[in-house]
Symmetry: C2
Subunit: 684 residues, 2 copies
Amino acid sequence: MTRKHNIILQPSGRRGQVEEGQSIRSAARDLGVEIESICAENATCGKCMVLIEEGRFEKYNIDSKRDNLSPVSTEEAAYFARRPKLLQDKGWEVGQVRLSCQCKIHGDVLINVPEESRGNKQIVRKSARVREIEIKPAIRKYLVSMSPPSLERPIADWERLAKGLETSMGLVRRGEENLPRWYDFEIDYQCLRKLSSTLRNAKWNVTVSVWKDREVIAVDPGYVENSYGAAVDIGSTTVALYLCNLRTGEMLASESEMNPQIVYGEDVMSRIQYAIEHADGLEKLHKAIISTLNKLLKQAASETFIKTEEILEVVLVGNSTMHHVLLNLHPKDLGLAPFVPTIHKSMDIKARELGLQINPSGNIHVLPTIASFVGADTSAMILAEEPHKQDENWLLIDVGTNAELILGNRKRLVCTSTPTGPALEGAHVEYGMHAAPGAIERVHIDEKTLEPKYKVIGVEGWNTDHAEFKGRVKGICGSAIIDSVAELFRAGIVDSRGKFRKDLDSTSSPKGKRVREGESGWEYVIAWADETSIGRDIPMTQQDVRQIQLAKAALFTAARTLLKRSNLQDPDKVILAGGFGSYIDKEKAMLIGLIPDCDLENVYAVGNAAGDGARIALLNLEKREEIDAITRKVERFELPTDPEFQNQFMLATSFPHMSEPFEHIAHLIPNRVVDPMARNFMSK
Amino acid sequence: MTRKHNIILQPSGRRGQVEEGQSIRSAARDLGVEIESICAENATCGKCMVLIEEGRFEKYNIDSKRDNLSPVSTEEAAYFARRPKLLQDKGWEVGQVRLSCQCKIHGDVLINVPEESRGNKQIVRKSARVREIEIKPAIRKYLVSMSPPSLERPIADWERLAKGLETSMGLVRRGEENLPRWYDFEIDYQCLRKLSSTLRNAKWNVTVSVWKDREVIAVDPGYVENSYGAAVDIGSTTVALYLCNLRTGEMLASESEMNPQIVYGEDVMSRIQYAIEHADGLEKLHKAIISTLNKLLKQAASETFIKTEEILEVVLVGNSTMHHVLLNLHPKDLGLAPFVPTIHKSMDIKARELGLQINPSGNIHVLPTIASFVGADTSAMILAEEPHKQDENWLLIDVGTNAELILGNRKRLVCTSTPTGPALEGAHVEYGMHAAPGAIERVHIDEKTLEPKYKVIGVEGWNTDHAEFKGRVKGICGSAIIDSVAELFRAGIVDSRGKFRKDLDSTSSPKGKRVREGESGWEYVIAWADETSIGRDIPMTQQDVRQIQLAKAALFTAARTLLKRSNLQDPDKVILAGGFGSYIDKEKAMLIGLIPDCDLENVYAVGNAAGDGARIALLNLEKREEIDAITRKVERFELPTDPEFQNQFMLATSFPHMSEPFEHIAHLIPNRVVDPMARNFMSK
């Protein structure tokens, strides 16, 4: 019987008994702790360094007999001798730090596996809650050293490489027949074309990039440590690209650019229309997005000082129309009843086939779509927020010109979508604008004086605090539009039906009446002409309020439909994704009935969840399978078109709602503005 | 307990008991007899017709109660009603012929499954022995009918198709989770691009072509019965293409064309040289073969009245250099020591990636290579002849400018190759020519008078029989070159060392001396000038004899090396592949020592075995796996370069051989020509 020794691994705290003479790395693996290595345990890569906390040589003493570990081998000593600076920088000494692939266990030991040596590294991401993402990329690199071919062993280049790769990957032969695993390896055709010359130039010493542990997609001379990948969120308006190190998960560059398809139509429907009406419409839309992606890839690579050929994978998300146009699939049927996509499931396509200028053998992964108006961006949002892992019922809302809603928990997820119009993003509002310097972003109205104060992007503090605001206001952005409407309601300037109260002429500023009948109806002046750069008063008009009422009614009715379908009264949490959700005042959003009633503490804004989801899918292969499986189960509901639904929609146009209590913000609702008819509903 | 009935299926004779009410097709499957069906048993494709021999309705009588089968259903009756001519042509009547998917068994029956309804059809091929090839193509077609999408069921087009395909394929759900099989289906990206419009144009009624039961590569409107594929043998000199029906195995067209690479070099070495010496050399060679393949594909399709897009797969074979150039892999290392290919294993590449103009989503399968000079053509030869399934030891020889040799049986296969020079194909012989009209193809020399007689391609009989030969002879082709040398030796005109006997001036024809000293040494005149179209005597020269001696010595020594490595004295069978083997006189080939000594009955010429192998791999998917596995096990031997080997080679230049007995043709060896030194060896 062989002797056993105790080993404890920090920081995980894993412990167990191991065989006499087993290497630390092998023992750690048996205990479920992965330690990196890409040199096939040849003491050359140094990725498996560990610190010996107890049981180690007191000094670097090869002759010592007292210690619980094998002496430092010649190879190990040579490795550290070549890197004196490494030890110096870390303050380590040889003997304290060991190569775990070389160091054998002969007694009880306490080992510390430093962050950089741990396999499956983790990054931390903040959202509705803090959570960790395991780094399990689709692409891994292995150092393969081969003996050159000879007349005696003239096996072909690919088979020579595949055999060496099997060794470097440390694969165990399979099945009863003991067949080599390398029989199953594949090599991308374009990669194969360069193989023979690369192997010879590199003197049979190469780093092999393997996709999904199966297909060789790059072979580079010598030792190459890092792989790169990009996650991309193709929005109708903005394209955002994140360049990541696939080994560490680190985000190296983040680029964004207007979606060039905007010249063919501002929203998805008008782009679908463009593709239908022009024979070369799809081709133009497709080429536009591909060339923008190539531009962003080039920028990101250049900022990171890498070549675009070093980027080996891109994960893309976008709404169903962006998804189809990216893949050069005609979006026609997305826009025509019964509204079906060409494909739901995720796709893997060679970069060269799609014309994306990364490594031509690299992979393009596109996340699955859920429905015609619930696209791969929503899939990515689910992946980032994980409603499918909750016991509570979460309501996820991604607000844009179109809003996608997901509701549910680990047992069931339902989804729908609704057009909300551009008002919530600041468009089609008289003085609306995108969030940019000069845009009013916050508004507060004193309920007694009815005088406003506001904040402007690019200027500190409130306008009432100092004079720097003079002449700097350009317009109102989305968050301030919500604010304004909510404040107009809270201050009793508009009633619960959204109508301006014409009896409020009592209040006026020295510069004139805030509430007044303007050219296109009643309005409330937020900024006087002399405070602006445009030389005109900036008001919130009856028309603007109306836009917001329609948008919020659409959103609310969609949410209520999902809740009803799930037999729920209210969601446990509301998660607002997208840039819109990040800037609005949650309380005010609820006050106008934009989101269903729930504890305000349970309303979260998570920013670009679609982009986060794309990054997660880029860094963790298992997540791709997870989201494919989840999206197959999400139930889709089209919003009904019957009169009863129309009626519900009309009730929802009221502030906060004509037939729902909205307990959590009830104290903010001014008694004087509540419609008598609404009061009837609310008392029911 | 359910009742059971007896069923007998002809012509296979399979019999067994089946459940009451089971359909004939289902019952047959249970008994191991596959009956075709591509309409998912909907009584629309008619591929499952069977003849009822006993137990059937006496008349087409729906009300009959006496019969052992279910009455003809309305759907069945409708199918036959639409095809009155079909029944008329075959002399069948409804009731006698039934759709086996519809017809249920209620009593004992005897069923005849006609040839055209049998699944896995077989074709018969002649070679060293008669054998059958099962038709199990990589591509199968399925008729899929879907209900169109609706607002209630808006599932995407691909998922709708995949679900329908699962039904049509009759797949059983897998595993404990009962996951649908269609989750695993894939669709080629370019095929996906056309999917949505095809489905709608076809009113959701399409035929789906599935590659390897996994990837959809074509979707065609309505019902399409046949799939097409091509098998191609790329020889250094000739490219041969066979267009086949993948469902029936039938060969529909056979095309051939000179290999256009000939302008860059006559043999593989000179083409490798060309690729090394010219920066665009490989590109030119590659483009030349691709454009010739496209031309042949177009010709074959046009002759068969199909579109090239209907061709869904091409299987290619060729020697390692042709293999590399086809795949645009640089052949440099094939020609430089240690002579290694870039890849051994077989490859599957999209047609569009290689630029082959079949269906762009179609597959190109290239058979595996074995060594630098033992290529995919040899793999195909193995597949066609199956030495790996024999108990006997077979020697397979493919003779060209280079000869490849395979020796062994089910336990072990060894291979080697040797350059033989172009002499055996009629090149580099003074009056040599390819086998074409005007070429002498047979020669016989009277051993008493030393007068020859010969046969010419394109003319009946021997030249001595009639006068039609006058002025028609142009040269000597390969088979006649072997004949001439063997006859010169048998008649004692050249001795066992291949030297002309100068003392034979005693014999002469009226037109002059047959054996004479010509401009470039001694020679034997086969045809006088007035018998030729070139106006010159056509002799066999000392130099020509020398060429043959070198070629046959190379071939023999290679064979002997393999035999020695396998501890064998002689092979049990010798199989000559390629055009060369088909035309030579086996006895004469043995007389000059071209092939090892064995019973002449065991020497076979099998024609284009490489082309046959390519066809087999095209028609049977399992054969591709088989040859991949076999080629991995074939042991390669390079011919040694030591002095002992050189000595063996020199001994082998003698007729038939200086140190081997050649018992089977010993009676033909004229005593007077045997070298005294050789006699010493032979008596040992």
